[in-house]
């Protein structure tokens, strides 16, 4: 019995180890390869968005390699992607980045969805002039104020104005004086975005209910819903991820809260399905954010590139792209275009110069609607800006109501 027991346990452990090992990418870079490190949230609280973000990075890398690689001078350099899962945990994230920098010797990073993870590892890279980090998910304002960080992804501030404007308009239509602010206290970007939201609401002469905190991955929103109901609230701004928005909306409607909810969550149809939320519950729920490829196609904004990316993604992964997928895909192509423009992979100052000067036309693969900066450049102070869209649930999918900006 004892031997059999040990065999069972060992078998189970081996099976799990085997499963984990399946995901590892072996091999090392040689002279014709450039190793790029990916900081990925493949598991943990941010997994629902992190998985599709990783897929898009992989898709871009595969496309570049299929075309022979990045042209550096007269030769082509293939990309070797080294992916490290942060488990959506800042401590693990720091270890992952240190491993990429020291063990794998990478100088180029892509990825980073969790703002908490990005903030945690930032001190490791911020003074390194030999590191370039393309952040394609984390929305913490200010992250791009470091020499090593470029962000081809909207920061939290870019949607704040649109959210507040919609909330104020709705409050005006409903004749209500207060607006509630629900804030995921684990979401790093909220530390700066929420005070800005609160100030803007107060400046408009309305009172603020909250900020009412919750935690990423919460299963219960009863206390928050009770707080909103006690205040007689009719309009709420929800600052959190799509999975949490769905849980909140479902429970809020069941407990008699029928107010309008304005969010910037990037909620997907899959999240609606997973949370089993009815179409009735999603009435008067609006989501503002960077456009998904489907939004761009509907709005005829950069539609051809968006459709091409969406088709390639669906063909490869059997599902539509996630919230940050297009930014991730664009981020890899931006880095590749900058390396080609610089004509080097080892002169990091020259690569940064190329990134600074990169124009929208230099990266035809961009599957988003980038708002060009001075001189048609992609970045201003290492930050890219995007057209946003307002979405609502039509019973089967999130559909585009209108473009913003």
């Amino acid at each position: 019995m004892r031997v059999r027991s040990i065999a069972w346990v060992a078998g189970a452990a081996l099976a799990v180890t085997g499963l984990a090992a399946c995901g590892e990418d072996s091999g090392s870079s040689d002279g014709s390869e450039l190793v790029i490190g990916e900081v990925a949230e493949l598991t943990g609280a941010a997994e629902a968005v992190g998985g599709p973000q990783h897929n898009a990075i992989k898709l871009a890398v595969d496309e570049i390699n299929a075309a022979g690689g990045i042209r550096i001078g007269d030769k082509k350099v293939r990309i070797k992607l080294r992916t490290e899962d942060t488990k959506s945990d800042p401590t693990v994230g720091v270890t992952a980045v240190q491993k990429l920098l020291t063990k794998d010797g990478v100088h180029y990073l892509v990825g980073s969805l969790s703002g908490a993870v990005a903030s945690a590892y930032l001190p490791v890279i911020k003074d390194r002039k030999d590191i370039i980090d393309i952040v394609v998910g984390a929305a913490n304002p200010g992250l791009n104020e470091n020499i090593s960080v470029y962000r081809p992804r909207a920061d939290a501030f870019q949607s704040v104005d649109a959210e507040v404007t919609l909330a104020l308009e709705t409050a005006g239509e409903l004749g209500t004086d207060n607006i509630a602010v629900l804030s995921d206290k684990k979401l790093q970007s909220n530390a700066v975005a929420v005070p800005k939201i609160v100030d803007a609401i107060k400046a408009a002469g309305k009172t603020v209910v909250g900020p009412v905190d919750f935690e990423m991955g919460a299963t219960q929103f009863s206390s928050q819903i009770a707080a909103l109901k006690r205040a007689g609230n009719k309009v709420a701004l929800f600052q959190g991820y799509g999975t949490d928005l769905m849980t909140f909306v479902k429970q809020a409607r069941a407990q008699g809260y029928d107010g309008t909810v304005v969010a910037a969550s990037g909620a997907t149809a899959d999240q609606v399905k997973q949370a089993d939320v009815s179409a009735d519950a999603l009435k008067n729920v609006f989501d503002i954010g960077t456009a998904f490829p489907a939004d761009l196609v509907a709005l005829k904004l950069n539609a051809e590139a968006a459709q091409k990316f969406a088709d390639a993604y669906e063909k490869e992964f059997g599902a539509p792209p996630g919230y940050t997928s297009a930014s991730a895909y664009g981020g890899v192509h931006i880095l590749a275009a900058a390396l080609e423009k610089a004509g080097t992979t080892t002169d990091y100052a020259k690569v940064r110069e190329a990134l600074d000067d990169l124009t929208v036309a230099d990266v035809p693969e961009l599957a988003e609607k980038v708002v060009p900066q001075e001189g048609d450049r992609i970045f201003k102070d290492h930050q890219a800006y995007f057209s946003l869209v307002l979405r609502a649930w039509d019973g089967a999918a999130w559909t585009t109501v209108k473009a913003i900006g």
Partner: protein, 285 residues
């Protein structure tokens, strides 16, 4: 009123999970930290059975409970039983190891995206100015009924009396001819079934994810500390108390302090009533 009723509904689930843990710990004296994983396995299996196999919710729940019982028995005989004569530290470390392995495997299978089992009860009713979803009422009623049935099982059946004898003094019980191995199996099967019922019903109301196990175990431990270890019936009150404290703390204090207030309350109870609010002597009756 709303907060109070929210707390009662949530508390009954905590109680159901804690009842299973009390049963296992009382009989086997194993610090079974993987008990929350039984809840998770059941919730995920129920959701999978309903969404992928398209089974009705009740059948899906049966699949979930069966999976939970299977998981509990596996740990019982593959891990804990062979170590029954080892120091308690070994068992503690093994149970924590089981948590990590189970969670890793679950993430590999189901990812860590939270999900709700579709097909639960919908609609709400009002009590005063509080609006209570029917699904919560069903959850609370099932939890209370299952705890009641388990209390009866323990107090009125031969198997229950054997388990109580083992809980009181395992060595003497063995000398009196009570089959230890069989009682371990019964304790793990019944305890894991309670966790299974909790997981499957919970998944029809609230989102479940592959990472919820340890949180659930900690809540169950708090319930046990509040109620006093040894009695299945008393955990119901411990659970309700925890649920209410949680709900009130969430209302009175900002979100960041809710958990701290719960644990502060637990510490106060531990200091003032080391054997729990209902006392060890009464609990062992």
């Amino acid at each position: 009123m709303q907060e109070l009723l929210n707390g009662v509904a949530q508390g009954t689930v905590y109680a159901l999970i804690a009842a299973g843990l009390v049963l296992i710990f009382g009989v086997v004296r194993v610090p079974h930290f993987a008990h929350g994983e039984s809840v998770m396995v059941s919730g995920m299996m129920t959701c999978w059975a309903v969404t992928s196999l398209h089974l009705p919710v009740l059948l899906g729940a049966a699949v979930g409970v069966a999976a939970s019982v299977g998981y509990g028995l596996f740990l019982c005989f593959a891990v804990y039983w062979p170590m029954r004569n080892h120091p308690e530290w070994n068992l503690l470390a093994s149970s924590l190891g089981a948590v990590v392995i189970t969670q890793t495997a679950a993430i590999a299978i189901w990812t860590s995206t939270p999900r709700v089992t579709p097909g639960g009860v919908s609609g709400s009713f009002e009590i005063g100015d509080a609006i209570i979803p029917w699904s919560w009422a069903v959850l609370a009623a099932i939890s209370a009924a299952v705890i009641g049935a388990t209390a009866l099982l323990v107090s009125r059946t031969t198997a229950g009396v054997s388990m109580k004898a083992m809980a009181a003094d395992a060595e003497t019980a063995q000398l009196m001819g009570i089959p230890v191995r069989k009682n371990w199996a019964i304790a793990f099967a019944v305890g894991s079934a309670l966790a299974g019922v909790a997981g499957s019903v919970y998944s029809t109301v609230f989102p479940v994810s592959t990472t919820l196990g340890l949180d659930v175990t900690f809540s169950a431990l708090v319930v046990i500390i509040l109620a006093g270890i040894g009695s299945v019936a008393h955990v119901l009150w411990g659970g309700v108390l925890l649920g209410v404290v949680e709900a009130v703390a969430g209302t009175v204090f900002p979100g960041g302090y809710q958990d701290s207030m719960v644990f502060l309350f637990m510490l106060v109870v531990l200091v003032a009533r080391p054997n729990g609010l209902f006392g060890l002597e009464r609990a062992r009756d």
